[in-house]
């Protein structure tokens, strides 16, 4: 540290700006993704329910995020005996 550093305060604001920009890019995507999952789950449930009776909690949708791709895991549990809805 030189005597000049003492008079020149550290400019930390540019670091703050860069960190925020990177962080918020990520957070906005994941907030969007959790909405996406909710929408998918609703619509999948709706399609299944058109044909078979199914409790809402038996449709599970999960998103697994990896570097190159993300996978969507959909698990639908049909209670036995399967009760088909009348066409």
């Amino acid at each position: 540290m030189t005597i000049f550093d003492f008079f020149r305060p550290t400019r930390s604001a540019p670091v703050a700006r860069d960190r925020l920009q990177i962080l918020l890019q990520h957070e906005r995507v994941s907030a969007g993704a959790s909405d996406l999952i909710a929408v998918l789950r609703e619509e999948i449930l709706e399609v299944i329910s058109r044909h078979v009776e199914i409790p809402a909690e038996k449709v599970q949708v999960k998103m697994q995020r990896d570097e190159a791709i993300s996978t969507l895991e959909v698990e639908i549990e049909l209670p036995n005996p399967i009760r088909r809805r009348a066409a």
């Binding site: 305060p9 400019r11 703050a16 700006r17 925020l20 918020l24 957070e27 907030a31």
Partner: protein, 272 residues
């Protein structure tokens, strides 16, 4: 036509309550009929900042639960006859605020007021969601500091997704109010610049409120800063912000460091 405005932020201690009181009073000074509503159940403070803490009889929860009429709970300001306060409960559980009850109170308030200014609790939970639920317009209060900006970003996302307006597919009008702005520290590069915060959050700027002793003095005496020190820098910034909410176009001033010299002091700096 009446407007419901929510003052929100995510983070606590950034200046929501101060801003609710200051903007509410500034709108009332222009002749509008204004109700400021405290949604911070259990941690009410708006009554103190407005200097009405000894006049609270009934509160928002009493009205929501049907234990008191709206007219019984509203406290009329001693200084401005068009300004009213609907206080929060200090003792009741915040779960006593039902969504339908709040909707009914908001509808009733719309009958009698031009502006209904809702002071949101901190956080992103139920209380904050109820405060923003029926808003037509939002003021997002942000300090030029990383955690406040991040929380504001979250709140902006919620305003666009979880409000009644958003659910009807309408656009939620949002404005950024940058508070506790310290010009000297901004000029030394130690605090996020106005442009940085605007670029990151990308919502229009409503005003920049400087860090100021006048705000502390105002809360000490229980009077909105726009009434008790109308000529102070923060009060002028709040008064301009209120006029912008009413649709006036006023040039934006960025508070300048008092030490940058004569010209800076005289003219401030225009926002880009």
């Amino acid at each position: 036509m009446s407007q419901v405005l929510v003052v929100t932020s995510g983070k606590g201690g950034v200046g929501k309550t101060t801003s609710t009181a200051a903007i509410g009073a500034a709108l009332a000074m222009n002749g509008s009929r204004v109700a400021v509503v405290d949604f911070d159940v259990g941690l009410r403070n708006l009554d103190l900042v407005m200097g009405a803490e000894r006049r609270v009889v009934y509160d928002l929860i009493n009205v929501v639960q049907g234990e008191a009429k709206l007219q019984q709970a509203l406290i009329r300001d001693k200084r401005l006859e068009t300004l009213y306060l609907l206080p929060a409960s200090q003792t009741r559980d915040k779960d006593a605020l039902t969504s339908e009850g709040v909707a009914r109170v908001m509808d009733d308030l719309r009958e009698s007021f031009d502006w209904i200014v809702c002071d949101s609790p901190a956080g992103i939970e139920r209380g904050a969601l109820l405060a923003m639920r029926h808003a037509d317009v939002a003021v997002v209060v942000t300090n030029p500091e990383v955690s406040s900006v991040r929380d504001s970003d979250r709140i902006i996302g919620m305003l666009d997704a979880k409000t009644a307006k958003a659910e009807r597919g309408e656009y939620m009008e949002k404005h950024l109010l940058l508070t506790r702005y310290d010009a000297a520290r901004a000029e030394r590069g130690q605090m996020l610049k106005v442009e940085d915060v605007l670029e990151i959050l990308s919502i229009p700027l409503l005003g920049i409120i400087p860090e100021s002793e006048a705000v502390l003095n105002a809360s000490n005496v229980g009077c909105p800063v726009t009434l008790t020190a109308a000529d102070s820098a923060p009060a002028r910034a709040y008064i301009d912000a209120a006029r912008r909410l009413e649709g006036d176009v006023i040039p934006m001033m960025i508070p300048a460091d008092k030490r940058v010299g004569f010209m800076g002091k005289l003219f401030g700096r225009r926002a880009a």
